[in-house]
């Protein structure tokens, strides 16, 4: 699994940001994760619980916003969210598309006191 290293990076970003803003406690962290990535939110949560002990983020709520797969049809330019594994454009039925969303992985915001 690759969530361990990802959780380490996540915690470092949170600690660095909190330090810069001189906060006492981080109570909520919002992470955006794209559906095309292989990252499993529950797995990140599991590691986070242990790793965040004795840090400014201990006990913080970890919320994930899942971003859907978004495609742009290479034939007619329509942007769409595919409903099945077979990606065909709802306008022209072409299956040629560029991936424009769904591979995100970033920390969006913190709630702090």
């Amino acid at each position: 699994m690759h969530e361990y290293g990802v959780t380490e990076s996540l915690l470092k970003i949170v600690e660095d940001s909190a330090k810069g803003a001189k906060v006492e406690k981080v109570s909520r962290i919002v992470v955006v994760v794209g559906q095309l990535t292989g990252f499993v939110p529950d797995c990140i949560r599991f590691y986070f619980e242990t790793m965040s002990q004795n840090t400014i983020a201990e006990g913080a709520e970890l919320d994930f916003e899942e971003m859907p797969v978004r495609l742009k049809c290479r034939q007619c330019g329509t942007e769409f969210v595919p409903e099945t594994r077979v990606w065909s454009c709802p306008q022209c039925d072409s299956s040629e598309a560029d991936i424009t969303g769904g591979r995100e992985l970033y920390v969006k915001e913190l709630e702090v006191t």
Binding site: Y4, R85, E109, E111
Partner: protein, 220 residues
Amino acid sequence: MKKIEIVQGILDANQATAEGNRAVFDRNNCLALNIMAAPGAGKTSVVLRTIEGLGPDVATGVVEGDVVSTVDAERVRDVAQAVVQINTKGMPESCALVADMVDAALAKLPLADLDLILIENVGNLICPTEFNLGEHLKIVVASTPEGDDKPLKYPLIFADADAVIINKSDLLLYVDFSMDTFMRSVRDLNPNVPFFPMSCKTGEGVSTWIDWLRGKLNSK
């Protein structure tokens, strides 16, 4: 209660190390390939055929990524100029190589003497997609017994590929694999990617791949 907007990529640190690795490759005039595939597709066989096909005038170093064993490194040791084994067990990421591991491996390779570096990733079609290593080219190896639906199941790895090798072409008669279906699914995501159907077992098709790679080596 107040909010702090951050918007910082969790993989930024990996990306920064990957860019450092790329600079090391470039400084030493080495072309680096990240070879990715499912377990058993034939990554190590592709590495062996590639070294053999390029011949002695191309000095090749190999970075072998594996969870625990050194089996692949042992197969490659006799033919490559230099081999470094990375075992990912016990590391933060066990399912894929990450840029830090490659950074550490590069210190053990005689980079100044090498023209080509083949990085054999851990067998997996999902995790390696997330971690840039600093490579110049991403090579995905598919194989006919895996079925022609893999691009639908693992779209990212095929969307990012700079070349797709379709190994075990000698088994086409025996397995349900339509070359047309497979190539169409990949091209839907990645329209200009070159395909190299080949059999590492018989050697069929290998020379087309070698010619393409030689072109990349000459233009680096």
